[in-house]
Amino acid sequence: MPSGLFSGFMVSTWLQGSIMAVVAGAVGFFVVLRGSSFEAHAIPQGAFTGAAGAALIGANTLLGVGTFSLLGVVAIARWGRRGQHDVVTALWLVTLLGIGSLFLSLSTEYADQTFSLLFGEPLAVSSSDLLPTALLGAGCITVVIVLFRPLMLSSIAPELASARGIRPARVEVLFLLAVGVVTTMALPVVGALLVFSLMIGPPATARFVTDRPVRAMAISGVLGLVTVWVSITASFWSNWPIGFFVGTFAFVWYVMGRCVARWRTRPRPVAPLELAGAGSR
């Protein structure tokens, strides 16, 4: 066991990373189900601006990320996604990134902070953030578990959900909030640009491997956990940025998942029919 990997200052990284990984896997399952690639991209990008602003004024990063995640959620919930990749929304997002770069440029550690906010900095996780993270994570998981069936139904067939008294619009808001929570927890650790990979990679893989939703969610949680653990370890050892490991792993899981899916649906020789009972024909 390399010294320092589990030492005092790394404990909060491990704990926060683990909580975040599990929640990302669970919420990511629904991101993939609902095809919400855009939201999963957009909210972290907006949150980056908040992190940059917090860095500029010396406030708590988590606070900045959380606030702007919430603002992003509100904006998307209010104005919706009019067509998946609307030009206006793309322009707004890029402008937010530009503002973020402005904030960082005005602060003292432009280059370093740009890097760590975009690509992650596990060592910067402080123990004081542990409690809010744990609470957010617990709350998020509880919501997902309690609302599992309404979430499923309104993701697959919103009209059916409405017929049963579930309001898809409300579910959408809750879902977006969940994405915001994951963003808040994950951004400081893996970076704004890689939150998406963490939310998409493991669940997309899980869906290739199994057709059963609960199992898929569990698998994506486990994969997320493995990803984060290995990434933290590798990053600690090599000093290489954690974002690299997260992005690479997400890709590797995805490719493996595709291969498994192809293997599962390979053309198989049809077994000969057996006549049931005596003289049925």
Binding site: V32, G35, S37, F38, A40, H41, Q84, H85, V87, V88, A90, L91, W92, V94, T95, L97, G98, I99, S101, L102, S105, L106, T108, Y110, A111, T114, F115, L118, F119, G120, G191, L193, L194, F196, S197, I200, G201, A204, N239, W240, P241, G243, F244, F245, V246, G247, T248, A250, F251, Y254
Partner: protein, 288 residues
């Protein structure tokens, strides 16, 4: 008179970095105008955005290898274009996921390359340059290359202009005329890759989408015919870029750090402002 002085600070026009930046910005805006219009019309903004993120990997690699970032951007963008053409079109939802995962890997790789650059070459600020651009830091010797790439992109678009337009309006109409779909699509992809690379050099890889689709989207609110749309896009793009350069130069005296605000921030914000303005004033151009 003092207002003009406040805007066009002394030394602005004689500063060689500013001059180079102005040329670079103008070339990029001109190239992005027709390519951007086609990209928005064909609804391929996401492809443009994907290319942009991918070019970050190329730029980072260029830094590590000590090569010009422009080459890194161009090579990576062209590789991305070929990959997209080869892999072909899949179902929308599956395609988004695949693209997202590949982008994530690419960005992760960029992170690694940038880190290695910092440690092996003690160059700081590579991340900022690649991701957010550094229009003032582009050397004069790169300009001929920029103009060369830009001219190539414009040539390609001009060559397949009519078939591209027809296939963007409706693919069935294009195939009825027996147009070589692959050739046209390939020419467009290459032009797109070059435009994205040039834009990444100017305002950074993750912001480059703005210069590609922003002026074009604004122009579509204002113009009814394709030629006029391209003209408007060029005008808006050049104006935003030049205004951004001027403001960035002026900002050297601004608080808090007296080191100037980033050009890309200005350009991107101005592009958004131009779009919103066009949105407001362009409603009457819709119907004859």
């Amino acid at each position: 008179m003092s207002v003009l002085h406040a805007i066009f600070q002394p030394g602005l026009f004689s500063n060689s970095s500013v001059q180079d930046a102005a040329v670079l910005g103008a070339v990029v805006a001109l190239v992005c105008a027709p390519v951007g219009v086609f990209t928005v019309v064909r609804g391929q903004s996401f492809a443009g955005h994907a290319f942009a993120d991918v070019t970050a990997t190329g730029g980072s690699a260029a830094f590590l290898l000590g090569v010009s970032p422009l080459l890194g951007f161009v090579v990576m963008a062209l590789a991305g274009a070929s990959a997209t053409e080869l892999l072909g079109a899949e179902r929308q939802r599956g395609r988004d996921l695949v693209t997202g995962v590949v982008l994530g890997a690419g960005l992760g790789l960029s992170a690694l390359l940038l880190y290695l650059t910092t440690t092996t070459q003690s160059t700081t600020g590579a991340a900022v340059t690649v991701l957010f651009g550094s229009i003032f830091a582009v050397s004069t010797s790169t300009l001929p290359l920029v103009i060369g790439f830009g001219a190539s992109a414009l040539f390609l678009v001009g060559l397949v202009y009519r078939p591209l337009l027809l296939s963007s309006i409706n693919p069935d109409l294009a195939s009825a005329q027996g147009l070589g779909r692959r050739v046209v699509g390939l020419a467009y992809m290459v032009a797109l890759a070059l435009s994205v690379a040039l834009s990444a050099l100017t305002i950074g890889a993750i912001l480059s989408t703005a210069l590609l689709i922003g002026p074009a989207a604004a122009a579509l609110r204002l113009a009814k015919s394709p030629g006029r749309a391209i003209a408007w896009a060029a005008l808006i793009g050049v104006a935003a870029t030049w205004a951004g350069i001027v403001l960035a130069y002026d900002s050297y005296n601004w608080p808090p750090a007296q080191q100037g605000w980033p050009v890309s921030f200005f350009v991107v914000s101005l592009v958004l402002a131009a779009y919103l303005l066009a949105q407001l004033t362009g409603r009457r151009a819709r119907r004859a």
